[in-house]
Every structure is written in C-alpha cells, then in structure tokens.
Symmetry: C2
Subunit: 129 residues, 2 copies
C-alpha cells in the first residue's frame, strides 16, 4: 500500500496519539523520507515545513515519540500514529499536548491544561524542538 | 485568536476525535468558511478538496458530527475537534473510524476494525459522503 503524497505537495498529515491515554498530542507532516526514517528508527520523524528538513521529534528535548503502531485512513492520505511519549510533554510551550487551548465560539482562546515542564529549561533560547 | 490558514493555501487540518471514547475518527480540512459554518451550525463542516466546496459531514448519510469543543495547537495551524458522532460510523467504507487499517512495517496493510454499517445501503452508488 502506497501513501498518497500528491495532495499536499509531497506531504501527509500525521496525527500523534498517546497510546496509553488516547490523548491527541500533536499533528505534524511527513514526506516519504521522514516516513521511512520513522519506520527505520521506530521514532516519530516529521518533515519540518519551516526548516525544510527532517525533524526527529525530541532530537533536542529528549521527548522522543516511540512508535507503537501506524494507521492509515481510507484515502491513504493521512496517518494516525500511536506512540509512547517519553518525557513530560511534546509541546515547545511546555505542555503535554500541543492542543492545550480551547477555541471559544467568541474567537478567544482559553488555556485548558497545566504546564508539565519549563520550556526555557528544556529548549533554551533556540526554537528547535 | 486568528487561525493560520496561510501554510496550506487557505486550509488547516482538523482532527476529529470521539468525545466519549477518545477514538480518532478522521482527519479533514477546513477553510475559513467551513470553520465559520462549523461554528454556526455546531456540526463539523469541512472543505472538500476533491469537490472544491463545503462539505457538511453526514449531509448524505445522516452521520453528523456534533461539536463538543474545538482545540487549537500551539502554532494555531491545526484543530482538534471533539465530537458526538451520530450514527454507526464516519467512514464511507463502512467503518466507525477512517483509520481502520494498520500500516505494517513491510508496507502491507491490515484491517483492524469490523464494519459497523453497509456503505452501499447508506451511500448508494454516489461517492458523496
């Protein structure tokens, strides 16, 4: 089965779900190379659109995402990756999940989670994640 | 808070999660109009890339996705929408979730879910979902 990378110029979205809790931790993008790297290493490796290169999640923070299994959707153009998340969180802002804000109907947002780590201590002044 | 629609030519990915079970049901895309329609109706409305128009999920099948809440990620370019899923499933192939196949390291896929409805009875010969 071949993934369909054609709809987003070589990328597919990958939803990352905590295998134990079911929490959706983040969404990233993969190209064919990052998918292959994820398979080869057993650790989630995205393609960073902003840095235009492969990005092994946790390469700086140590907050690695170990692959439990990978599911594909009916159109073969999206992935659901269930992981064991090492460390206290995946978000560069210091939260367990990148989805730490609720968007209210008014258009305002509300933080709905507690910080699980100090992002400055983990990431320093660099923006690499 | 303004969603960032610039990274994917006017779209953001929206992960749909069953609010009760935590199961990830599908991934779709929204443009600004479909996000507004989702807010106004309380029912998930995507932008269909293949049909180039708004697509209220369940408009044909009746398998509507009622919005419980909407979360946004740290980069404001992805949504996590928790829903009450009406009906037996969201997938046009007759499964509860569109992610009904596991992708094996070999490249082959394996169906890991049972069909919950007969897609021909629900969708007939049309491809509209």
């Amino acid at each position: 089965m071949e993934l369909d990378f054609t709809k987003l110029d070589g990328l597919v979205p990958a939803v990352i779900q905590d295998a134990a809790s079911g929490e959706v931790l983040m969404l990233g993008f993969m190209n064919a190379d990052s998918y292959a790297a994820t398979r080869a290493s057993g650790e989630v490796t995205f393609f960073s659109r902003s840095r235009n290169k492969l990005w092994r999640k946790g390469e700086q923070s140590g907050h690695v995402l170990r692959v439990r299994d990978i599911r594909v959707d009916c159109d073969v153009d999206a992935l659901l990756i269930r992981v064991d998340a090492l460390g206290p969180g995946v978000c560069h802002e210091g939260y367990r999940s990148c989805f730490f804000r609720e968007l209210l109907p008014s258009g305002e947002s509300k933080v709905i989670a507690e910080r699980t780590f100090d992002p400055n201590a983990v990431y320093g002044k660099e923006s690499q994640r």
